[in-house]
């Protein structure tokens, strides 16, 4: 039982990270990035390539996370920025276009067969206070905790963080205060890309890497975002871990066939009954 919960939490951390990457962009710019899952997938593929060219493990992590962060910046410059003043639907469809593009490009580059990266350590199981956990799951939980702590420090204890928050709340006023919103949004996209890339790196050892892995993760992250309350960072962490647990408990105790259906049913219940989620802001139109 404890093992099940531990792996549920680990998977939930991944959903939370991807949801976080999604929310960062949403808060900063109002854009919904339907290609967030492809950033995860590309992160995993980049990590695979980095390990096959015999880079040390830590260097492979650094390289793949930076590459995906850079991709986030390019994404902002060429796909988001030209559409920033249009209905959010246009950006949605562009990100869907990008995700089709990225998935099939990955298919051409890395081939259709699922790939594997070497495990994190040679140890299979680590016993932690009587709970046996795989080192990968421990890594996921620790890295997520560290990334969240870094986020918190960045946003609430640095000057850059204050500028980022100001831009997210009102880009126009921020601009009047001498902040360059475009740079702030660029930084946000880099952060978002790096976090999603990191999620891909963390998933690589426990998942088979294939071109469809992004979509599966993204759907759960959407649910995490809605459960937590659109735009709330603590909310998406709770939502992500919650959906990770629900998923694994359903798979173990009810039926693995319907675990996706149950997750989506939860999404719909939340949307209809509690559209503000657990920690979300009020949904209202100002008069």
């Amino acid at each position: 039982m404890a093992q099940i919960i531990a792996s549920g939490v680990a998977m939930g951390c991944i959903y939370a990270l991807v949801g976080l990457a999604f929310i960062l962009i949403y808060n900063a710019s109002g854009g919904l990035n339907f290609a967030q899952g492809e950033f995860v997938m590309l992160g995993a593929f980049a990590f695979f390539t980095a390990t096959t060219i015999q880079l040390p493990y830590w260097a492979a992590v650094v390289v793949s996370v930076s590459v995906i962060g850079g991709l986030g910046w390019l994404f902002q410059k060429f796909l988001f920025y030209p559409l920033k003043d249009r209905s959010f639907l246009y950006f949605v469809i562009v990100t869907i276009g990008f995700s089709i593009f990225a998935r099939n490009l990955a298919l051409i580059v890395w081939g259709p067969n699922p790939l594997k990266v070497p495990p994190l350590t040679s140890v299979d199981v680590v016993s932690l206070g009587g709970v046996a956990m795989s080192p990968e799951n421990i890594a996921i939980i620790c890295v997520t905790a560290c990334l969240l702590l870094l986020q918190y420090l960045l946003f609430f204890h640095t000057d850059l963080g204050r500028k980022l928050r100001a831009t997210a709340q009102n880009a126009q006023t921020a601009q009047l205060m001498g902040i360059y919103p475009r740079r702030m949004i660029g930084i946000t996209f880099i952060m978002s890309g790096a976090i999603a890339g990191f999620a891909g790196v963390l998933l690589a050892p426990i998942f088979l890497i294939d071109t469809d892995m992004g979509g599966a993760v993204l759907l759960k992250s959407f649910i995490a975002v809605v459960i937590g309350g659109f735009g709330s960072i603590p909310g998406v962490v709770i939502g992500g871990i919650g959906i990770g647990l629900i998923e694994i408990l359903t798979a173990v105790y009810v039926s693995s066939v319907y675990k996706d259906a149950i997750c989506i049913a939860i999404l719909i219940v939340f949307l209809i009954a509690f559209p503000r989620g657990l920690l979300g802001e009020a949904v209202k139109e100002r008069g």
Partner: protein
């Protein structure tokens, strides 16, 4: 030249299947037409009514499976009733989605409908007893009519084209009618649509249901064309594809979605490359098309002309109607015309009204009366609760506690369009025009006919529907002439300067034939000449018996027009009297200037 275009296009459409020799090409065209129907249906809910759906693959799937399950292995004659039934089942799903969707807006609605589409897909995969899961359903017969079988792609083509024509005609008729104006109002400014009398709930559900019926029928056509279906066909990819057709073709236009379908289906055939490379190019192509064609394909083809705004330098005085003009009766509520003598009754009565936002009491235990046929002003410092009161009276906010009477009747209704039907019209502090419509259409949204034509009459454009439209236009003309805007009737409202957009809102309110008009800071941002003009319009409203309630900060203006003034401070009424008495009221002075305020300064401020 243009006259020749239509017959030529028709000939080309009819001749195409006889010229095209390859079965492959015909199949592709048929699939393309079905997708075009799907795009038209998505455009109906998204382009016209502004409601996002990312679940159209679900409606398509429901239609396709209804047809497949009921006709598999059966006779081709079954096609016709089942075609309609497919529309009905998808329509019911649209109703089920539409009702909860009323609570969701923007990206929440996007996620909700996305979840719906996924649920349908999962059900199709796993409800094996009915859908046969991944095995799919085969042996779906070709449609048959009096022994004629639509068994080749060449014959099927005509069926598809007929269905597309019907979908286009439905969409076109809707956009050109009062329903289209209602949808546009809902899309541009939902709050203002409600207070202008548009039944927002009904229109949203209507949009979802009609759209899903069309999508369901497209699903049925698809099943009978390909003969075998499996859940793989009804994934999010389909929704994404259809969405890109709508956006690339031109959202909100009648023919845009069809052009988009041609583009998306035709693109890979032109490129003729291997499957993986095709997908790469398709993904990039969609992104580029959206990035570089902001108005869609149709926008590229359309000629661009600058908007000419006719000048109305004299304030439109030459077209203005006076209150003796018989057309003015079109703006006067029939009930006011008969009871005009009884000016002193209470038009709006409020008792013990309270409204809280979290811990903040915006309005606390407020009671006040507005007498019929008077100009009543509501003043008070910022944050006094004036706009909140207007929002409560017009149904923008639900009234939590307290009672309200209107023209002698207790008011139970809480929705803005029901209050609008009772005779309460309003304007907004921040402009809420229906920005994509012309001035005339903005005002037409407010017009109601005594004999409204039903949905089917409007779709068929019957005499009753034509009469209604003429009646509505006459009312709109009177309203526009009332405020001197008749000259600019065909200009897009967003091209007008600020003052005139405010007057359009007033005309829109008058077109509803209201008993009472609520004006929320009508003079804000106006120069003295414009305020003078506004005063004459307000006095004209009073002259034809309309009760006016004004919220305003411009004191000289208030003192001039108001018959009576109510002063609010922190949600409480501190004074209610004639202007002269308010000017000298000690509580009012201290509310505006603080406890140490000197009466003399107030005199200066209001003079």
């Amino acid at each position: 030249m243009r006259k020749l275009l239509l017959p030529l296009a028709l000939i080309a459409l009819v001749a195409f299947p006889f010229v095209a020799q390859s079965e492959y090409l015909l199949r592709l065209v048929n699939i393309g037409i079905i997708y075009a129907i799907l795009a038209v249906s998505l455009n109906f809910v998204m382009g016209a009514a502004g409601q996002i759906s990312l679940g159209h693959a679900g409606f398509f799937g429901i239609g396709a499976y209804t047809a497949a399950i009921l006709t598999s292995g059966g006779s081709g004659q079954l096609f016709w009733p089942v075609f309609l039934l497919s529309g009905v089942t998808a329509g019911i799903a649209g109703l089920i989605i539409g009702v909860p969707a009323l609570r969701l807006k923007g990206h929440y609605l996007a996620f909700g409908t996305l979840g719906f589409g996924e649920i349908i897909r999962i059900v199709l995969y796993n409800w094996r007893e009915v859908t046969r899961g991944t095995d799919g359903i085969g042996r779906i017969p070709s449609p048959e009519l009096f022994g004629f079988e639509f068994d080749t792609d060449q014959k099927y083509y005509f069926l598809c084209i007929a269905a597309l024509m019907m979908a286009l005609w439905l969409s076109h008729r809707t956009q050109a009618s009062k329903y289209g104006r209602g949808f546009a109002a809902l899309r541009d400014a939902e709050l203002a649509a409600g207070t202008t009398g548009v039944n927002v709930t009904r229109l949203k559900i209507l949009a979802f249901v009609v759209s899903s019926i069309i999508a369901g029928c497209a699903g049925s056509l698809y099943s009978h064309l390909v003969g075998f279906i499996s859940p793989d066909t009804f994934t999010f990819e389909v929704t994404a594809q259809v969405l890109s057709m709508v956006l690339i073709g031109g959202i909100g236009t009648t023919f845009g979605p069809v052009l988009g379908a041609v583009f998306i289906i035709g693109l890979p055939e032109v490129l003729r490359v291997s499957k993986e490379y095709y997908q790469v190019i398709y993904g990039a192509g969609v992104a580029f098309a959206v990035l570089f064609m902001p108005q869609g394909l149709l926008g590229l083809l359309r000629r661009k002309t600058a908007t000419q705004v006719p000048s109305i330098a004299d304030g439109g005085a030459e077209d203005e109607i006076s209150i003796t003009d018989p057309a003015i009766e079109r703006l006067r509520s029939p009930e006011l015309a008969t009871e005009a003598g009884r000016r002193d009754r209470v038009m709006l009565g409020i008792k013990d009204l309270t409204c809280r936002f979290g811990g903040l009491v915006a309005i606390g235990d407020l009671s006040m009366e507005v007498r019929a046929g008077t100009i009543h002003a509501l003043i008070g410092p910022n944050g006094a609760g004036k706009s909140t009161l207007i929002n409560l009276v017009s149904g923008v906010y639900a009234r939590p506690a307290g009672t309200m009477t209107f023209d002698g009747q207790a008011v139970e209704e809480n929705t803005s369009w029901k209050l609008a039907d009772l005779g309460i019209a309003r304007t907004f502090q921040n402009l809420r025009s229906f920005s994509s419509l012309t001035v005339m259409d903005n005002v037409l949204v407010g017009c109601r006919s005594a004999k409204p034509a039903g949905w089917s009459a409007v779709m068929l454009d019957t005499a009753a529907s034509k009469n209604e439209e003429a009646d509505l236009r006459a009312t709109a003309e009177a309203a526009l002439r009332f405020v001197g805007l008749w000259k600019v009737r065909d200009v897009p409202v967003s091209a007008l300067p600020h003052e005139q957009q405010r007057l359009v809102e007033i005309a829109r309110a008058l077109a509803m034939r209201p008993k009472m008009v609520l004006l929320d800071e009508p003079a804000a941002g106006m120069n003295p000449t414009e305020v003078e003009r506004l005063i004459t319009y307000i006095e004209k409203m009073k002259a034809i018996g309309i009760t006016v309630l004004i919220v305003e900060h411009n004191m000289p203006f208030v003192m001039r027009v108001a018959d009576r003034i109510t002063v609010l401070s922190f949600g409480k009424k501190i004074a209610d009297d004639v202007p002269a008495a308010i000017r000298a009221h000690p509580d009012v002075i201290s509310a505006y200037l603080g406890k140490r305020g000197v009466a003399k300064e107030v005199q200066n401020a209001v003079a």
